[in-house]
């Protein structure tokens, strides 16, 4: 009954009112923002929370006995709990604030990496963002570990039989993206987690593209690490989260040294603070953490099922319309996809089309999307990517399609 009521209140026009930037224009045209995969826009409540923090509550946390410090600390720790509840982590100390997804993955690559030895194997996939490739390459170089890559097929699905044959007792960690930023593929992470655990391997999910589109439940998924960025989930930039299981995090050495992460410091020996502070050296992005909490609270008031079906409808509609153009090639046609449409057009450079769309007020991403190995696999220089959020509309897609048509006429 309550759920029905929430669904009935999913009104895209009402939601758009929450996002002030959607009212602006660029080059004299109403802004159409289809670059949500790169970053999401912020609702007024988040913008207000940032303002309120610096106007009313700014203070350093975990340090002072004074009123403001206590207040800021309480808000920061409440934000951690909001995130814990949203992702259904067992404990709040399993939620570690980072600078973002890249920072979270680097933390694991360094710290968990320290527990590995030469010859141990890490498995990633061919569709990873550079953020989930390079930290592992650096770690493998440092520790003498071996990096293996799950290949994909032409549709953009992981070839799971290849993954099966890679798994062995040497596999220590499987680090894969939950959803591909370039292709939109939703990976079978439940299967990956189950199979990896049978070999005693830990699993890290790059959740940068998933938490804003679906419900993620840490206890149900049973992944060992999950990383995401605040700015892609309607929160501020410069803040993100690493979720990790407590028993694993407890065994990992600190990543960076500094204030807040220590229990006692002497020149002879320093003992480290407990979780989550062990991994949060120095004054953190306090406002970022608090306002990420606000963003997650905002999201939790919407019905994720309605969001998903709205976004799916947008993506299917856009794909169908785009496919009517001659020479159109959709890159990424996996069985399960999120609201990302990546495409190229025969004889048209993505940069040219992207530039002309921009001049018509439409923000899309062009290029390799930080997934160069993936572009090499498809033998293309890059794609044009339209990535939709729940505040986008079919009317915007109609305008986008007309703009593509006009651009192609000019370029051909």
């Amino acid at each position: 009954m309550i759920k029905d009521q929430i669904q009935l209140t999913f009104d895209v026009q009402k939601i758009r009112d929450d996002f002030p930037i959607l009212r602006r224009s660029v080059y004299g045209k109403d802004l159409i923002y289809f670059d949500n995969g790169a970053t999401s826009q912020k609702p007024q409540v988040v913008i207000d929370a940032i303002n309120e923090y610096y106007t009313e509550n700014n203070s350093n946390i975990h340090r002072g006995v004074h009123y403001l410090s206590q207040l800021a600390t309480t808000q920061y720790e409440e934000a951690r709990k909001i995130i814990q509840n949203y992702i259904n982590a067992l404990l709040s100390e399993e939620v570690i604030f980072t600078k973002g997804t890249s920072d979270a993955i680097n933390l694991v690559a360094f710290s968990f990496g320290e527990t590995l030895s030469a010859g141990d194997e890490i498995i990633i996939s061919a569709m990873e963002h550079h953020s989930n490739i390079v930290p592992w390459q650096m770690m493998c170089e440092r520790k003498g570990c071996i990096l293996r890559v799950i290949p994909i097929d032409q549709e953009g699905d992981l070839i799971m039989s290849e993954f099966d044959s890679m798994l062995s007792s040497k596999t220590k960690l499987v680090a894969v993206t939950h959803i591909s930023n370039s292709l939109g593929t939703i990976n079978p992470v439940e299967e990956i987690i189950e199979k990896s655990h049978k070999f005693g391997a830990k699993v890290l999910l790059d959740g940068a593209q998933s938490i804003q589109h679906m419900h993620v439940d840490m206890q149900k998924l049973d992944c060992d690490f999950y990383a995401f960025s605040g700015h892609k989930v309607f929160g501020p930039t410069g803040v993100g989260v690493l979720y990790g299981k407590k028993e694993i995090l407890d065994q990992m050495p600190p990543y960076q040294g500094g204030g807040d992460m220590i229990a006692k410091v002497t020149f002879e020996k320093t003992t480290y603070n407990e979780l989550p502070h062990k991994f949060e050296a120095g004054t953190p992005n306090i406002s970022g953490g608090i306002c990420l909490g606000t963003a997650i609270q905002y999201l939790s008031k919407l019905d994720i099922q309605s969001i998903q079906s709205h976004e799916q409808e947008l993506a299917s509609y856009a794909e169908a319309k785009l496919n009517e153009f001659e020479g159109m090639r959709i890159i990424g046609t996996a069985k399960k996809k999120t609201s990302v449409v990546s495409f190229i057009v025969d004889g048209i450079h993505p940069f040219d089309l992207g530039t002309l769309l921009d001049k018509q007020g439409i923000a899309v991403r062009t290029g390799h999307h930080c997934t160069q190995p993936l572009m090499d696999f498809f033998e293309i220089p890059g794609t044009i990517r339209a990535s939709f959020a729940f505040y986008n509309t079919k009317e915007e897609i109609d305008i986008f399609i007309s703009a593509v048509e006009r651009s192609l006429t000019m370029l051909r």
Binding site: D352, T366, H368
Partner: protein, 136 residues
């Protein structure tokens, strides 16, 4: 025609367009008209790798005057290259090296020359000036 006169000529040409798309229509035509550079000149040492598009640049000196030829895989990039070549070709190496190219800003295309645009054009202008300097 002096370098400054060539720049002014382009500024005047663009002054008639008040719509961005018309401006780009013109740039695309310029890109289509840019003489192709021969494939044997599209070598790796002439390639300027941008994040978004790629540019090949070749330089010849004839009678003390600079002759650039260039190509790109993106047509808008080619159009802007065409404008740069029109201004810089047949100038002395010294004028090329010190050219400020303010016309790009005047016609509203400076975003394409910003290093953040990653289309290879900013690097191309640098390389044009550097190779002109080297030839001195």
């Amino acid at each position: 025609m002096t370098l400054a006169e060539k720049e002014q000529e382009i500024i005047d040409e663009f002054a008639i367009y008040d719509d961005w798309m018309d401006k780009y229509e013109y740039i695309i035509e310029l890109g289509k008209d840019l003489p192709k550079i021969s494939d044997d000149k599209k070598t790796d040492d002439r390639l300027i790798e941008g994040c978004q598009s790629r540019v090949w640049l070749a330089l010849d000196i004839e009678d003390g005057k600079v002759k650039f030829s260039a190509d790109s895989d993106a047509i808008i990039t080619k159009g802007i290259i065409g404008l740069l070549i029109r201004v810089l070709n047949n100038e002395t190496a010294k004028s090329v090296a010190t050219a400020e190219l303010n016309f790009i800003k005047e016609i509203g295309l400076h975003e394409h020359l910003s290093p953040t645009r990653s289309n290879g054009l900013a690097s191309m202008v640098n390389k044009m000036k550097m190779s002109a300097l080297k030839s001195l």
